[in-house]
């Protein structure tokens, strides 16, 4: 078992083989690095703390028990981890009838319960960018940010989003594409 101090000096990619070998110290460092982002993402999607905790716990335990099957050819450890968290959170969201994803981060964390028969249009409105949109999404025009949020944080298909927003499917596809391209352009500019 690697010592905590040594594990802290290792890159994410170097921690993965140790985690695969069931080293709890390496896993603890891994969680300390990415647990905050994972929890924030889960909370953003499921909209309440207990559900977010469950999602994060399940996601990290799945990483631990599956032997950390990370493939560096497919991106960074962090991106891989957050994609697992995102998928778990969307699964939790879909299995939970009657609760809407949370859109904003209220200081008092007052959460609203949504009746299960709310229309998808209402659901779309809850998902849209009424809440804080920061970072990459904050640079986008509202209609592009909206479709990306509905897809990524809401787990909706482009067909569903087109129906919710009352726009043609091609428009949704186009906004998604333009949105990602714009974010990519901003990132490229930041590196220049």
């Amino acid at each position: 078992m690697v010592k905590r101090e040594k594990a802290e000096r290792l890159a994410d990619e170097e921690l993965m083989p140790l985690i695969a070998a069931k080293d709890p110290e390496a896993f603890e460092v891994f969680f300390d690095r990415h647990g905050g982002a994972a929890y924030s993402l889960a909370y953003r999607i499921v909209g309440e703390r207990t559900g977010a905790e469950d999602v994060v716990q399940e996601a990290f335990i799945s990483i631990w028990r599956s032997g950390a099957r990370f493939d560096r050819a497919r991106g960074s450890v962090r991106a891989w981890t957050l994609s697992i968290v995102r998928n778990r959170a969307i699964d939790a969201l879909r299995s939970r009838a009657g609760k809407a994803p949370k859109l904003t981060f209220d200081d008092d964390l007052v959460l609203e319960q949504r009746p299960s028969d709310d229309s998808t249009e209402d659901e779309a409105m809850r998902h849209e960018t009424a809440g804080e949109v920061r970072g990459a999404l904050g640079t986008l025009p509202g209609d592009q940010a909206k479709v990306i949020e509905l897809a990524y944080f809401g787990g909706f298909s482009h067909s569903e989003i087109a129906g919710m927003l009352g726009v043609p499917l091609g428009t949704v596809k186009g906004r998604m594409r333009l949105g990602l391209e714009k974010i990519r352009g901003e990132l490229a500019e930041g590196l220049a």
């Binding site: 905050g36 924030s40 993402l41 953003r44 994060v56 897809a151 990602l180």
Partner: protein
């Protein structure tokens, strides 16, 4: 050339939706098939990947509760200890073997001394007594390993503070319970728990001096038969038990325990 571009436009339009997980299942299969043979789309996907990765990073950061980390690491250390990769297993192994050997004295596991102790325990005084029949069933308990576990303040622990005790319940075949010491308390990990009926939960109990009290940490097994709960205060605990109870829990056990774990004093 134009025909080729026009034919490809459809896939190009769908790339972002694909990356955002927004394609319908049938579309997804077709797109992935296309992607396998299309370097142009793969190159575009590689170019856009950082943009996709920026999306989850854009959410407002909130700190996870410390209990989440505690629970997670307790489960991880429980697994590691069971797999012998926690660094404590080697040094604790000899003690575990000795303890197990002691329980074999008299020809059978859960031999005389242990049997009397358990029998006394189940007949103990207190507001919540378990029926003698339950106590007899609990005698089927098999102590599989004791690895440096200690209760109270005087016990030894692994460098991680993760002393552990693992028992196999003979009463609920296949169920394995591991208690991992975490500071003053501990986390209880069950494996191979069969699904419980709707409206029922698992409830943990501790016994001190003949008195059985609920831990008030209700839990349920996941799809893989794993269930975890915490015991905030292990001080003076002689036995930890788990029963299946109505949702919301009960003040006293209403069913036979599926796990009974005597805690070495």
């Amino acid at each position: 050339m134009n025909e080729m571009n026009n034919g490809h436009e459809r896939w190009s339009e769908e790339l972002a939706a694909y990356m955002l997980g927004a394609l319908e299942p049938a579309e997804l299969a077709a797109f992935e098939q296309h992607l396998e043979g299309c370097e142009r789309c793969r190159a575009e996907a590689r170019w856009l990947a950082p943009a996709l990765q920026a999306v989850p990073e854009s959410v407002e950061r909130i700190e996870p509760p410390t209990e989440l980390r505690t629970r997670l690491m307790a489960e991880v250390r429980g697994d590691a200890a069971a797999a012998g990769t926690d660094g404590a297993a080697d040094s604790a192994g000899a003690a575990g073997e000795q303890a197990e050997a002691e329980l074999h004295v008299g020809g059978a596991r859960s031999g005389g001394g242990r049997r009397r102790r358990l029998g006394d325990l189940w007949r103990g005084e207190g507001p919540h007594r378990l029926r003698p029949a339950i106590g007899l069933a609990a005698l089927a308990l098999v102590v599989a390993a004791i690895a440096g576990y200690a209760v109270g303040n005087g016990g030894s622990s692994s460098p991680n503070g993760g002393g552990q005790l693992t028992v196999e319940s003979g009463h609920a075949p296949g169920v394995v319970a591991t208690m991992v010491r975490e500071g003053q308390g501990g986390s209880l990990h069950l494996r191979n728990v069969r699904p419980i009926p709707d409206g029922r939960v698992l409830e943990a109990w501790v016994q001190r001096g003949g008195k059985v009290t609920p831990v008030r940490a209700l839990f349920v097994p996941d799809r893989e038969g794993r269930a975890t709960t915490t015991v905030a205060d292990m001080d003076g605990v002689e036995t930890v038990m788990v029963t299946v109870e109505p949702a919301g829990g009960t003040a006293a056990p209403t069913s036979e325990p599926i796990v009974t774990m005597p805690i070495p004093g």
